[in-house]
Symmetry: C2
């Protein structure tokens, strides 16, 4: 593949090359890239805004993350935040910090992933900022979405006896990451990074090319089910469920035997001598939806495919617990990020 | 000053500490920090969104930029983009990449500047993202604003014979930067960085604590003047005026003798053996407003303080020129950023 040094284009040339033929498709996009700010128009609906900063070496490793996948994922994780409010993503802005080791083609690969995600989810790229970086690749994406005023779902509405559901399955993305990290350690640094991942495709896909659960939001709307609280799983089930409980002033009880875990996840956890329940609770980056619905909607929820009842909301003073297979209760703990733990 | 290691707080503790008592003041802020996305409500008006990524070593040098000033400036430069659309900034999101060399107090200093700017400009902080960084300090800010549909001003509306105005003066921020860079080079790296800047305060203030020209936007509204095109001066007069001309399919003629330059800027340029006109054209980071108004508003524009008529719009085929004091014409060129030039 040819390599064009970024310096040959300059800032404005690079921006033109990357964004020149991006045409808005959303009705709510009045004006996209090319002015001091994009112009959006959301008359009469709630506007949602979310933002994510991705840093090389912390959030991704370019040894095993193809730039196109990185672009796709960077967009999708923001869409996921908008869906988690029961909204619809509409526009994103994209700011990049790039170092000289990147060629124009590298950035085009990144943008092709970004644009694919925007096509799939019907979202416009409406602006951003491009800078040199002295160090790693830096990505900052902001997503704007809309929602009906009476259908926005926050984290704070869970009530005692509400049922707790999660979409998809848990821990696969984390096991995909472990797998990639192991192969990277084995890989001697020469030649392309191309180990054999046969039979583990699902884990890699979950890590490298996650999807946001637009389909679940659609299904909930189709069945006229409005969750009382919702969050997307980025930090891990445990941390994210605690966010709902804390903000709702509630407790919860979830059941180990009900945690949805894929066969490949379970197999890989065994290979790595990891407790698969711990992986499911704390793995992170699942980008599934975790939400609560009133008890009386139990039957209607059965109509929705791909969601799993994992427990229920309790009183705040009862705390937040996982009921193990043996009947013992384990208190849920937030993992979150910690600068020490990252070292 | 005490130093709290960030690791002692963890991610969620840090976020609570930094943003715990931020209460929205804007009517358009339905819900701020603490959910997957902020909820805004802009029924019936244009929504504007702009974003900036600031990287240590590229956009700022912590040797001479106090963190509080950095926070202030990071917010203000985004407000400036919204004003440049003839809008009013309403909310910002703030994403930070931080390394272990920062203490909690450092980040609180940064946030105090950010919050001061938000107070001064009446803007809400509604969300963001905080990550560890393996390298430098990374700041990404997105600003949302509103504007009346019929009063949004873009870069593409300048017409032949329109008058070109610029607010404030030019080149001071760049000379402030040169001054700081010189003192840094002189400074031997031991002890605090505290050189004597007496008599150069204006240059430093323009570099370290710029303001966005909300007052000019207000004055234009008070006198019922709607610019045909507008941009804020971040890259420098030359580049930014070329943006207006390119997007408006127009040419321009501006006059060297009319460029507003402060006494301190002129003195410092002489000290550095720089051509002060070049500094005014290409300095960048002035955050003044550059705009065009129809010729028939010439008399009304005289009522507005702090703006200067520097030239007029011509036909596209006439090109973009600076008329020098000796009557010679010099073609305007974009400087922009260039990864090579940065080295």
């Amino acid at each position: 593949m040819s390599r064009t040094e970024i310096a040959t284009l300059g800032e404005f040339g690079l921006i033109d090359r990357l964004t020149g033929n991006i045409e808005p498709v959303r009705e709510t996009t009045v004006k996209g890239i090319g002015d001091d700010a994009a112009i959006l128009d959301y008359s009469g609906r709630r506007t949602l805004v979310t933002t994510d900063l991705l840093l090389e070496g912390i959030h991704f490793d370019l040894v095993y993350v193809p730039l196109k996948h990185l672009g796709y994922k960077a967009a999708v994780v923001n869409f996921s935040d908008i869906f988690a409010m029961n909204g619809q993503p509409q526009q994103i802005t994209v700011s990049l910090g790039i170092s000289k080791r990147f060629s124009v083609e590298d950035l085009e690969n990144f943008y092709s992933g970004l644009r694919l995600a925007c096509e799939v989810y019907n979202v416009d790229i409406v602006g951003g900022d491009t800078s040199t970086s002295l160090t790693g690749f830096t990505i900052s994406i902001t997503c704007i979405g809309i929602a009906d005023e009476e259908r926005v779902v926050c984290r704070n509405g869970a009530k005692e006896t509400d049922l707790i559901f999660v979409s998809g399955d848990l821990g696969a993305s984390y096991m995909g990451l472990q797998l990639l990290e192991r192969e990277k350690a084995v890989w001697n640094g020469s030649g392309d990074f191309a180990p054999d991942f046969a039979g583990k495709e699902y884990l890699l896909e979950r890590q490298l090319k996650p999807e946001a659960r637009k389909d679940i939001i659609q299904a909930l709307a189709d069945y006229d089910i409005l969750p009382t609280a919702m969050i997307d799983l980025s930090d891990g089930l445990s941390s994210d469920l605690l966010h709902i409980c804390k903000q709702s002033h509630a407790g919860c009880q979830i059941f180990e035997e009900r945690l949805p875990i894929d066969y490949q996840t379970a197999m890989m956890a065994e290979t790595f001598h990891m407790n698969v329940t711990t992986v499911a609770l704390n793995g992170g980056e699942d980008y599934e939806l975790l939400f609560t619905v009133p008890l009386h909607l139990h039957d209607r929820m059965k109509e929705i495919e791909g969601v799993h009842l994992i427990g229920h909301i309790t009183k705040e003073e009862q705390g937040c617990y996982l009921v193990m297979r043996d009947g013992q209760e384990m208190q849920l703990r937030a993992q979150g990020w910690n600068p020490i733990a990252e070292d």
